[in-house]
Subunit: 95 residues, 2 copies
Amino acid sequence: MNTSLSIKQVEKISKALGDPYRLKIMKIVSNSESCVQCCDVSAEFNLAQSTMSHHIKQLIDADLLIADKEGRNLKFVVNKEVCTAYADYINSLVL
Amino acid sequence: MNTSLSIKQVEKISKALGDPYRLKIMKIVSNSESCVQCCDVSAEFNLAQSTMSHHIKQLIDADLLIADKEGRNLKFVVNKEVCTAYADYINSLVL
DNA sequence: TAAAAATATCGAAATATTTAGATATTTAAA
DNA sequence: TTTAAATATCTAAATATTTCGATATTTTTA
């Protein structure tokens, strides 16, 4: 595998992670055994539904989450490949 | 060692890395053998001096760079411990 | 000590992000 | 087949970030 990210992707991912709600979403998805859906995540926050939708969209757009629409639900998991590639990029700053 | 970051620190670091100029600064500092100083970095960009100063301040505030004032120059190196801890945090999202 | 060099700070404009409410869409259930 | 549930989209306000120019500070050099 060993995906390597463009600098633009690194920027987008960093931006996506630069928000407390989105970091918490990542943690919730990461901690769960199976797929998670919007409404599960939303329940943990005191934010409008449209706001949650917006945050989740940013994580998906940054390829940090992989989403799969099942019926009227949106399920997602952490994109391990991209997370690992991002961590690799950060580590490459340390020689 | 094994520094571990608070969620607030992770957010701050992510935010600091969510900008093309700041990512480029990190790369320049990372790629250089020894310490780098503001004026060296600034020369690479087409930005006002005050803007550069602001960007560098954000990287220092996020503990991504360690700065050392030498006379009228500000020299810095990558904070390896924090970068590694941040990469570890990202990797911890991938179970 | 006056001038120059390197950096920092302040104020303000331009731009981007966050958030909520209203509404739309899509699918499942009654 | 109407209703409810889950999510998405749009608009607009509130807030935050980026950027610059002007000026201040600190240190070195002439």
